[in-house]
Symmetry: D2
Subunit: 368 residues, 4 copies
């Protein structure tokens, strides 16, 4: 085995990522060295690269990754659910690390509310031990505190990574709202990884009809393949009132509306699209892009319930893998991975994701 790993390094915002070699630390007790199969190129990676997120540079991007176990440290014999693991096994690891001692972690018992949350791929400098702390790398080094789950045999690695962190994000959001039942109408704003994951979850839960509003066309096609009953292409619907009118005309008011766009104005539109006593789940507007002109009298007069949800916990990733084991032979999420990039092409991947050229792009450091 080699003692170095090649990585694509973000050294300066807006600059091309640099290919570097970093040392692979000794795999001590409890640690795991993973050989990266694929690391998703998330929209957040683009924000990081563009300098819109504060990072301890140099950073290895990549916070949603699957790989094979290269080496297990002493005592690490099970994954985070107690499943036995061995070298060669395919695993999906959890990039985020809560502090486990703040108000969010201890009192709220919700690590998505941790005030000191750190994550591989964004919060750690690769200048510090254990260096290999992001997915745009041949190898990732997991210390004892990282959660990881074995990928079920029947699930292709690319199916597991297809919607990246968007899938567990959606699973957590659905948990927050208590799910959606058979025959409930769902309107999903946004056809990116979070929105598409919501299509899967809504469909599995029997929702009907499921309408997806978004762009561009290939994503809407994927939405239909995953079970959307109706898609609305927002290309050309430039004004909020046009989009609201179109959605109302086509889909009526929804029992459940889901915001998965990332644009604040979508929320102003969404509240107009929920039926009385209906629910609105907000997951997309993660970055602070300022306020949107939302009408509270609609929320009050329609008895609406709005739920914000951010991040996810290890069990939500476990749920993703479990659901995939049940339904991926039919869904074939691996088809959503529409572009694979070598480490050398990571910068191109960021450009392409920024331009919405792919349904999902991944960095595949060992593919050729």
């Amino acid at each position: 085995m080699t003692d170095k790993a090649r990585v694509a390094l973000l050294e300066q915002a807006n600059e091309p990522l640099r290919i570097r070699e970093l040392p692979i630390p000794e795999v001590k007790e409890g640690c795991v060295l993973v050989k990266t199969l694929a690391s998703g190129v998330c929209g957040t990676d683009v924000h990081c690269w563009r300098g819109q997120v504060k990072l301890p540079l140099p950073v290895i991007l990549g916070h949603e990754s699957v790989g094979t176990i290269e080496k297990l440290g002493a005592g690490r014999t099970q994954d985070s659910m107690g499943e036995p693991i061995a070298e060669g096994d395919r695993v999906f690891w959890v990039a985020g690390h809560p502090c486990n001692k703040c108000y969010g972690c201890v009192i709220l018992k919700d690590t998505t509310a941790c005030s000191n949350r750190k994550s591989y791929g964004t919060s750690y400098s690769c200048a510090d031990y254990p260096y290999l702390v992001g997915g745009y790398s041949e190898y990732v080094f997991l210390t004892g505190r990282s959660f990881l789950f074995k990928i079920p045999e029947q699930v292709p690695a690319e199916a597991a990574i297809a919607f990246g962190c968007g899938f567990p994000t959606a699973v957590k959001g659905f948990e927050v709202i208590g799910g959606v039942g058979p025959g409930k109408s769902v309107l999903i704003q946004g056809a990116g990884p979070v929105g598409l994951s919501c299509v899967v979850l809504a469909k599995l839960g029997g929702a009907h009809p499921i309408t997806v509003m978004g762009a561009p066309h290939p994503r809407l096609e994927m939405a239909r393949r995953l079970g959307a009953d109706r898609t609305i292409d927002i290309a050309g619907l430039d004004r909020p009132e046009d989009r609201v009118k179109k959605a109302r005309d086509e889909a009526g008011e929804a029992d459940l509306c889901i915001e998965a766009t990332g644009y604040p104005t979508a929320v102003a539109e969404g509240v107009e699209l929920v039926r009385p006593n209906g629910r609105y789940l907000l997951m997309g507007v993660f970055s602070d892009l300022g306020p949107a002109p939302i009408n509270p009298s609609v929320v009050v007069r329609r008895n609406l319930k709005l739920y914000g949800s951010v991040f996810w916990e290890p069990r939500h990733l476990h749920e993703v893998l479990r659901l995939l084991a049940l339904c991926n032979d039919r869904l074939k999420l691996e088809d959503a991975v529409s572009a694979r990039y070598a480490l050398e092409d990571a910068t191109q991947a960021l450009h392409d994701v920024e331009a919405l050229k792919c349904v999902k792009a991944v960095i595949a450091p060992h593919a050729h």
Copy 2:
């Protein structure tokens, strides 16, 4: 008994109410004639008078009223909870009437979502039978479909009416959010009838500390008397950011924030004042006063839950009376009734309520 009733009639928006005499219909099977003790002057009455609400003029205002039973129609022997009633009993009746056959009534089983809701005091013209369909009147005529509840003996009529429809509105809102538990911090925006009712409910539920943000001074004093641990006078805090800063400095972030102001901008401030995973109950912005610049990324990143709640159902009024029976000897809500007006002075009452001159004003048609 007389066969006519004097009423204060809204014949034209912005004009003084006129004193008229209307015929008292025969009290047929199931009907009830009530002699009005007091009818609250709600902020909505001011909106109606100012022409901001569409009404089938001429209308008798007054949708929150208590009175004594003057005459019971045949077969009407019980109140809506099965308590025996007799002439002379004091009752609080429910002004609103759902249609019982729309999506809201039948499928949502929530009459506050009725799409054909009508109400004494706003939706009926007094030109139509049974004429006496609002509280600014010596007598009110209740047909068989009206819910009414006997006021418990130990509760003064003015205590029952003190926060008018604001109290059952608050009870329903608290029901929607599942209540607030011991030791939870509560921030209430607004010190009108809804806000003050929330103080009572939060205090009864053991919340601590309870902070009320509002104006003017006498309302904040009443808030303290009812159990608020802290009040913030917003006089002089003209900019939203000033109010947010002041609230944060004094009260920190709240487990539960409640909007009871009626101003859309309050909602934009409120989302900044809820702790992560906290809840925000919106009840104040009933009239459509347009949008406010709300930041959805705060809702998402803090896992916030927002609940709109409008109107209330008969059982919420019953709950008000039941709670008053338990705690009014201590609370003495009757002291909140700070002004009583004869029918002739109803227009003055509207002026005074508009100018926030009273904690609570009532029309007392028979007082002298």
Copy 3:
């Protein structure tokens, strides 16, 4: 049109039903006369016939029925959801009538908790107006207070009636527990109408795996057709511990267990079959057959949640029809109606249902 209707009358417990002719009342304002297409023979009918339920004899059995509108009284132009109705339309009516003024109806706002509940088919004597108050009759006379819903065009009448009152019972139960989500394991005890309805609902909600424990064989086959992943025939598993062991061996512990057997001892077994923090929905044990030896330490130590649920409300029947409109072309619930009886053979129907000879039996008064 005739002015008389033939009915099968229960005049004395355990005696054969008698064929009689009863007068058809004038169809006054708000009333509806319905020509019976099919009336389900519910297990409760057998209990009624066997004298285990107190009835105001003579009674026309039949509380789950579909028919065509023969005549609409003045003013009755819509069904209970506001859909226009006309003579000739197929409808499913709600047999039960709450009092709308007791603690359950008003304060709990749950008519299944009504303390004065009456129902066509059980609580009314046919000696009293309007006489035709049960489904084992050529015609049923609905007064203004009866809820009725139009059957969607694409749904065969026998599909609507296939699980009779068991289907809305199951819908209400699922509502009580907040539904079941994708990938959750469900164990259903009992393969009668309630149990089979639960299979449909669990499957629509994405539950997996779904295990049904019951008998006899044709019902388990129907369970599989409707989506059960596994069935356990309890024939030969005579002791509770045998059934518990078999279920555990085959299905493990369930996220959700559902009791739909009617036998108290099933509950004692069920609590052993729910995973920690899991849920147990009890709907089957409607009649008081005495206690079962249940171990509360299991409930405590596993953090179990048990939910009892009885009856249903009009909206649950509406939900049944709405779900059938969505999925019956695939499910073909009409195939569950395995036996049709003329009025003259109603007694035989009761015998056959008692002997579990049918998946579902119906009385079809006009079929030949």
Copy 4:
């Protein structure tokens, strides 16, 4: 400082505890040595002593304890909520340790469902490092994984320990059911530490009336002091039907019933005492004492909800301390500590608790 600690050791079931000296380990990084102020004598300790719980003897009993920090290991500068701690500070530590990698811990995210739960005072042998693993000891040695919370200044140590693990048990139970609101009637079966804690929580939440059914007299007196509106002494009410009748006659049916007795039969009685659609919280029957004859038709026909709840998590203890800081100046829970025993008298303490001689007994190793 000494390097040895005196402990009262359970070496053999039913034998007197033995006074021994055990070595105090070096206080390494992250560890904490605590000087025991008081350790509650829980009913579970009696079960342990009586050989009804399997233990890795020799064991130091005591799983609910408060003490002062004698020595802090390197790096241990905060309590589990991030509050700074120093030597001399009074703390309440969490005896239980979840495994953090089982289905309960990871997927259910509920450490009370941990399948490998261990706890100071019951699951560790004092033959193994770090030896001082129970509260009946002069000193307790906490390794890095133990949660501990600083006791608020205004709270006496004995107030914090007064209901021992019963108080956080009750806090968790109330969390499971979503609390109890103002004006709701509560019936509590049992007046031990769990039952009395429920009185405190119900009272803080505004419940009314609160009825406690139990024995003996001093505990019922304490219940009244804490806010119970009514107590029912079960002395002389030997048959279940007598207790049910007495409770119904005095208290009617309760919105919420709570089982805190430890006796299975209490559950059979409790289901008869909940109103329709009401809730029943089961916390008392922790040990498996076999089944009770419970009538499931009551659960079904009344739409009851039953919630089992066991154990608690660190945040529930934090909540106890927070609530005490708010209300103990009024409640003075320290008065519930009715007996203090030296280590030498620990056996006598077990005898007295077994005989229900005390409201609450504590071992106070350093008192004299």
